[in-house]
Structure formats: C-alpha cells, structure tokens
C-alpha cells in the first residue's frame, strides 16, 4: 500500500479530546445548505486573490473529430447526465447539459474547453491557481451540483482552448470515478464479487447508458507500472541488470526500473556494497528472481518491478500509450457494473 504509515503504540485520544471537535450546528448547516464554489463565498473575496468574474459565454461550435468515432448530430437533443448515465462523453454544439441531484461534476482537466453553446461558464481569474470548494490550493476543483435538471454552472480554468470537453462524473454517495479521456479502465480484476441469496451481485451497481462513446483498453504487452511501497533494489548500471532487463518484452521502454521484494527481507540485503554480483531471471511476467552473490554464498529472492514516485508518472504514460483502443458504438444502449463503495471498479459488460 502506497505511503502506509505505521504508528506503533500511538497514544489514543480521550473522549474529551474528541468531543471538543463536535459541532452539530455546523454539520447540519452544511447538510442542508447547497455547497457553493469558493468564489461565491463572501469570505474568499477578502483574501484578495483577484476579481471573480462571472461570464455567460457563447462558445463557437467546434468540430469534434475523434479517430474511429462516428459523429452524431445532437444539435436538437439535451444530454441528461445523471446517475444512470455516468459516462465520460463528448458534449456537442447546441447541446444542453443537465444534471440531477445525484451527480457531481468534478476534476475538469485544464486542457479542454467546453463545446456546448448553452452552458453558463464561471471562469476564475486572473490567478492561475485553482481552489477547491474548501479554499485549498489545488490544480483540481469541483462543483457540487445541487439543483435538479437545470443548466449547470461548470468551472473551467481560464482561456482553455482544447477541442473536446470531458465531463468527469461521479455519484455523490459512492463516488465512482470514470476517468481518462476516452477509456473506462479495467482495474483490480481480483476483487471479490459477492452474491446475495438471489444470485445478484450485491456489491456491484448496474449502470445503464443509452449513449456512450467509450473505448476499452485492449491488450498491451507492457507490465502495468506499480509504485514502490517499501524498500527497493536499485542497480543503475551495476551488474548489467539494466541491459538484461531490456530483454524482457513487458518492460520495453520503461526507464528507472527498480525492484521490490515480494516478501520482507533483512535490511542488509539491500546494501549493494555487500554483493559481488547480482543476476536476474524472469520467473513469469512481472515476477523475477534476483540472485545476490558474495563469495560462495548466494541469496535469492523473488521481486517485482516497481517505480519510485519520481519515475512513476512517466512509466504510467508509457503504459497508457501502449494500448490500442476499441470503441463501443455511439448511441448503443448498454450497461456495466461498478463497485458500490466507489473503489476500483471493473467493467463486466461494456
């Protein structure tokens, strides 16, 4: 688990220490009052981070052309975005976007601009720093949609000029994330599916859609990058490990590969000065055997390939770009399942 911090014998808080945080009035106030973006809260004006300007912008239509996606004339239709239709989707010219109370719109990527001509845009300016609804600095931000089926105010960074608008949507309760510009990634295929007595998937929720532009990752030969979570073996140019690793198809193109043991090892094993030679062998895709030599002593361990935090992003980009995509038919009805608790999700029947 990434960044798991283990606290040993940490003193517990007393009830008194906990109870001082209680404030039911504040909780009730937040629960029954619609959440407003930070710029609508009077107190943030006082910070002096620039003038907030609310504009209603008519956006010139942009031609949406995506490879392998059929274009569709949606000019006379409203796109209803609600709990039953949570897909990243392309918003076309003259299309209203309406949301219901169960939908949140969040995490607008700064590279895109809105295509829809009827959306009211709220643009934060002049600062390039974004704030979330709690007033914290962040590159991401969110708007809680509280009204039912009315045109939605959506915040965008200023002066976006990309061609495609990507809505990232979630349930308020389960907060299932659909992310990526055009993919529902299949993740965590080892989750336990629980059946109730009627044979239904009780920890999954069925989502139906009647319009989707969805692409599903097809196979890639590359190993999915994983971030290092504990001590690592890092060899650099030593022992010829870097050269050897190039023979492994699943690691082609990756840089700064390091290795993490499958089982805990004594700390001294990680000390490179201890070893006269190190060899690596592939056991299976993703699992390798390290042999550590000193005089006539050989220590072996199973390791997996991981990436340090500084290299992980680049590795992930290489991985994602290695996929070829196939896309579902636009306009075709379908359904898929997501985990109810909003964790990593799977696609069973795209």
């Amino acid at each position: 688990m990434e960044d798991l911090k283990i606290n040993r014998d940490k003193p517990d808080l007393t009830d008194e220490q906990i109870l001082k945080h209680r404030n039911f009035d504040s909780v009730l106030d937040k629960a029954i009052t619609p959440q407003l973006p930070w710029y609508k809260l009077g107190k943030y004006w006082a910070f002096g981070f620039g003038t907030i300007v609310i504009l209603t912008v008519i956006i010139a239509s942009l031609t949406i052309s995506t490879e392998n996606v059929e274009s569709k004339d949606n000019s006379n239709k409203s796109l209803i975005v609600n709990s039953n239709n949570l897909n990243d989707t392309i918003v076309a010219k003259d299309e209203e976007v309406l949301t219901d109370e169960n939908t949140e719109v969040f995490n607008m990527t700064p590279e895109v601009s809105i295509v829809n001509t009827k959306l009211n845009l709220v643009i934060e300016m002049p600062s390039s720093v974004m704030y979330n609804s709690s007033g914290e600095e962040t590159n991401k931000y969110q708007v809680n949609v509280v009204s039912k089926n009315i045109p939605t105010d959506i915040e965008l960074p200023p002066f976006s000029n990309s061609e495609r608008f990507i809505l990232k949507l979630s349930y308020k309760e389960s907060s299932v994330e659909l992310f990526g510009a055009d993919a529902i990634l299949v993740k965590n295929q080892d989750i336990v599916l629980l059946e109730n007595e009627r044979g239904e998937w009780k920890n999954l929720e069925r989502i139906e859609y009647d319009k989707a532009i969805v692409s599903v990752d097809s196979n890639t030969s590359l190993l999915a990058p994983v971030m290092a979570t504990s001590q690592i073996f890092s060899f650099g140019e030593e022992y010829g490990i870097k050269e050897k690793v190039k023979d492994f198809e699943e690691l082609a193109g990756y840089e700064n590969i390091v290795f993490q043991a499958k089982k805990p090892l004594p700390n001294e094993w990680y000390n490179k000065d201890m070893w006269e030679d190190v060899k690596i062998e592939k056991i299976t895709k993703g699992i390798y055997k390290l042999e550590l030599y000193k005089l006539d002593v050989i220590k072996t361990c199973e390791v997996e390939v991981v990436f340090e935090k500084s290299s992980f992003e680049k590795a992930n980009q290489i991985y994602l770009s290695s996929f070829t995509h196939k896309e579902s038919t636009n306009g075709k009805k379908g359904y898929f399942y997501v985990l109810k608790d909003g964790g990593d999700y799977i696609v069973l029947y795209p």
């Binding site: 688990m1 798991l4 039911f24 805990p264 004594p266």
Partner: protein, 192 residues
C-alpha cells in the same frame, strides 16, 4: 479477544428505539442531533485510527455526518445498528480521500497486538519478526489491512466486521483466515 465495543451491540429494544429516532430525523434533520451525539466518538475514533492528524479526522468525521444527514432518506432499517451504516459512510469517505491523495493512510498498532498476530501465525514473537510483520502490513492490499485492523487492532467481533464491510460473517472469517495465512508466509526471515 475481549469485546470492547460494548456500545455497538444493542438489545432488540435499543435497536427499536433507535429506529424511532431515525424516523424522526428523517422528518426533521435537527432531530439527527441525538444520533450525532450518540455516535460521534465512535466514528471519530474509527477515522482517527486511519489518518495521521487529529484535525483531519475531525474534518472527515464532520463530512461523514453531513453525508449521513443528506442520505438519511435512503437508509432502510434492517435490524442492525445504525452505526454499521455510519461506519460504511466513514469507510467510503476515507477511501475517497485516500484515492484523491487528500490524506495518507496510516494504521495504529500496539506492541501486544503485533505479538498476538505473530502467535496466531504460529511464530514466537521477537524483534526481527516484529519488524518483518510491520513491513508485511505494507504488502497487504487495502481490504486485507482493513480486516486485520478491525479484528486485531480494534478488537471488533466478526458480526460487527461483517456489518460494516457488508459481507457475511462466514465470508469475513474466511477472508481473515486468508490474511493470517498470507502474513504467515510473509513473516519468514530466510529466503534461501
């Protein structure tokens, strides 16, 4: 294992009384205050054991109760304590926060609990194995760690664990057995 969460296991009459409180709160959110007072410390402790910072735990606890009030109309009484539902919301909020990297996961462990787990794994506790066990916690996935936490670090009975995780008691026991088996394999100093 000593049952320490005595407040969780209500009598039938206590559960029925709670049902009345919930119905009232559905009519008027201000009446939720009774439930808030009743469960605040429990939920706070649950969250604080998984977060590093007391103030972060307070913020997230507040958020849990906000969500609870907002979702109360969807809550259905199924004969189990209301706190199980609150814990589920807390769990969801924690998962969301960790996924968005707003907070980082921590786990609180006591030395006697580590020894207990080592003994469960049929190992004699010593310093080396303790270190290996603590390192092994990072090799558990989040569900495995959560189960271990609830049973060994928080001393929750399987009934309570199953209600919070929304799985059957048998399922919880099977999964726990698998976690111990995995830890037994991970806590192995020799790799020759």
């Amino acid at each position: 294992m000593e049952l320490i969460n005595k407040k969780y296991h209500h009598s039938k009459s206590a559960i029925q009384e709670e049902e009345v409180l919930i119905k009232k709160a559905k009519q008027n959110p201000r009446d939720f205050g009774v439930l808030y007072e009743k469960y605040y410390v429990q939920i706070f402790r649950y969250i604080f054991k998984r977060l590093e910072d007391e103030n972060d735990a307070a913020d997230l606890t507040s958020q849990v109760f906000v969500k609870a009030i907002q979702s109360l109309s969807k809550y259905e009484f199924r004969g189990v304590p209301f706190s199980a539902w609150l814990h589920q919301i807390a769990r969801n909020e924690l998962n969301l926060a960790f996924r968005s990297k707003k907070y980082f996961r921590s786990v609180d462990v006591e030395s006697n609990q580590i020894n207990e787990i080592l003994e469960e794994c049929d190992y004699e506790p010593n310093e080396e194995r303790t270190e290996l066990l603590l390192n092994s916690l990072r090799l558990l996935d989040k569900d495995e760690l959560e189960l271990l936490e609830m049973r060994y670090f928080e001393k929750r009975p399987f009934q309570e664990v199953s209600e919070i995780l929304n799985i059957s008691v048998n399922n919880a026991k099977v999964k726990m057995h698998r976690v111990i088996k995995k830890l037994r394999g991970l806590v192995n100093p020799e790799m020759d």
